[in-house]
């Protein structure tokens, strides 16, 4: 009899546990949803507070324009020069990041895969990496003039190192057990690289590409602050020189949007190519 009672009890248990767990999980999800909505609303609340503060003349308008004025300036600019600035900056980032990342992938793969090349090139790259990239600016201006070339070069330098470093460490960190698998199947060097090393290093390459891209935007601003006649960096300088904080804020806003947008593009590519990863972020 005893066993029957026990089995009845164990049969009853899971059902009871489920019934209690399900509503709890739902409530948890609902609560999290509220926090997510609050997260999206937070900037709006900040804007509203700023609007009130500025309109009540609690801070001088020549330092901090009301959010409504900033959006008005954005609207006005969108009718005129804004697209020209975005186009100029975007093209520079695209070119600089493209060149820097492509070089980094070639050099990083070579250094990651060849101990000899690593021995040959690593010390120099370590030294170059230690130079704060902005220190290149005067030299680039001297060598390349003030046209597009120095800007794109600077952006390329900025994008190069994160991509390069991540790819090299990605290749170096490939699981030895997978290498052994390629020995079991007697893969040649090329096949081993193509079928084991590069796919295994891809997640870290993407980490590098994404931080390289955000550095590319940063160096684009730096380059345009120094010398440019168009672009978002120029808009920043222009706003400062003409005492128009609304222009500065418009440029910052647009930079934020563009940075987020381009990163989201890379993120989508990453999610698609790396759907196989078994990580916290990709769990089903």
């Amino acid at each position: 009899m005893n066993t029957r009672v026990e089995s009845a009890a164990t049969a009853a248990w899971p059902a009871a546990a489920q019934n209690q767990a399900a509503p709890a999980a739902n409530a948890g999800a609902r609560e999290l949803r509220l926090w997510q909505i609050a997260g999206l609303a937070l900037p709006l609340v900040v804007f509203a507070v700023l609007e009130v503060v500025v309109r009540a003349d609690l801070v001088p308008r020549n330092l901090l324009p009301a959010p409504s004025e900033v959006f008005q300036s954005l609207w006005d600019l969108a009718d005129g020069d804004l697209w020209r600035h975005i186009g100029a900056s975007g093209a520079r980032v695209l070119a600089g990041f493209g060149i820097g990342a492509a070089l980094a992938i070639v050099v990083g793969a070579a250094v990651g895969l060849s101990r000899r090349l690593e021995a040959l090139l690593e010390p120099s790259f370590q030294a170059l990496r230690a130079i704060p990239s902005l220190a290149w600016v005067p030299l680039l201006l001297l060598w390349l003039g003030i046209d597009e070339a120095p800007k794109i070069t600077l952006i390329a330098i900025g994008a190069f190192f994160p991509v390069y470093l991540n790819l090299v460490s990605g290749i170096h960190n490939v699981d030895r057990k997978l290498i052994e698998l390629s020995e079991v199947y007697r893969l040649g060097r090329v096949e081993q690289v193509r079928r084991i090393l590069l796919p295994a290093a891809l997640p870290q390459l993407f980490t590098g590409l994404r931080s390289g891209l955000s550095l590319a935007w940063m160096f684009m601003v730096a380059a345009e602050l120094i010398a440019a006649s168009k672009g978002l960096g120029y808009l920043l300088t222009d706003g400062r020189e003409t005492s128009r904080p609304d222009l500065v804020l418009v440029a910052i806003l647009v930079l934020a949007i563009l940075g987020k947008f381009s990163d989201a593009l890379l993120k989508r590519l990453e999610d698609r190519w790396l759907a196989w990863r078994d990580t916290l972020a990709t769990r089903a």
Binding site: K177, L178, E180, L181, E183, V184, Y185, R186, L187, E191, R195, I196, P199, A200, L202, L274, A275, W276, R277, D278, T282, A284
Partner: protein
């Protein structure tokens, strides 16, 4: 009958430490042989030598009376302790890994997956599999090249006891079906008794063969068999006498 695998390892060292000494092992076609011993007895090293993964030793390795380097690719299949599936390939592509650039033999992949009880798992990614399922895929992958010999390094030590028993049956079935010779490294006496035609008991420091026992019991075996229990005691005595326990 000529041995299918003929292993002679006079001396194998890691640095100054001798890990294998005077190993002579002949394995007949279709035989199921377990290498049993405590950790550190060099059984995995011996398996790696047999797999051709370690060539830094004094001795010789013949497969079908010819040096193993001359054996065709895929003549020896290897299953490791972990599945070692490539996470970016689907289950089907993992099974067909050996085909490389050549088109995969889709029919063979399907047949193998069916055989290991994963008929519909082909399109899944490894991350969607349980440990036991992943190890089945690893077995299917090792069988894809239609190997004469399959070497398994503690293949079921990472799965739970019930899954292990099922996988042992599965392994025996596929090996019998394909006529594959099995060499299984294990530290589980019961596993060795259940699987093997022969148990090669190894001792440590340096790794050497202590005993070579034949298990005549017909399959499928009963894990509670009294004869097997006696053999179990004999193996324990052997290990005890060699101070391996």
């Amino acid at each position: 009958m000529a041995a299918q695998i003929n292993i002679r390892v006079q001396d194998k060292r890691f640095g100054d430490k001798q890990v294998l000494s005077q190993i002579a092992l002949d394995i007949a076609p279709g035989e199921v042989v377990s290498l049993l011993g405590p950790s550190g007895c060099g059984k995995s090293t011996l398996l790696r030598i047999a797999a051709g993964l370690d060539t830094d030793y004094r001795g010789s390795l013949l497969l079908d009376t010819r040096p193993v380097a001359e054996a065709p690719l895929g003549a020896v299949g290897v299953v490791f302790q972990e599945p070692r599936l490539l996470p970016w390939l689907s289950v089907a592509d993992n099974v067909a890994f050996a085909s490389g650039k050549a088109a995969a033999n889709v029919a063979r992949v399907a047949a193998l997956l069916d055989e290991v009880g994963l008929r519909d798992a082909g399109p899944l990614l490894p991350k969607q599999l349980s440990g036991g399922m992943a190890q089945r895929v690893a077995i299917a992958r090792a069988l894809y090249t239609q190997p004469r010999v399959m070497l398994l390094d503690e293949p079921f030590s990472a799965v739970d006891a019930f899954t292990r028993m099922r996988l042992q049956d599965l392994l025996l079935n596929v090996a019998a079906h394909h006529g594959t010779t099995l060499v299984v490294v294990t530290h589980d006496i019961d596993e060795a008794l259940y699987l093997s035609d022969r148990i090669v008991v190894m001792g440590a420091a340096p790794g050497r063969i202590l005993a070579d026992l034949r298990i005549a019991q017909a399959r499928p075996r009963d894990r509670r068999d009294a004869q097997l229990a006696l053999l179990r005691a004999e193996i324990l005595d052997t290990l005890d006498a060699a101070h391996a326990l």
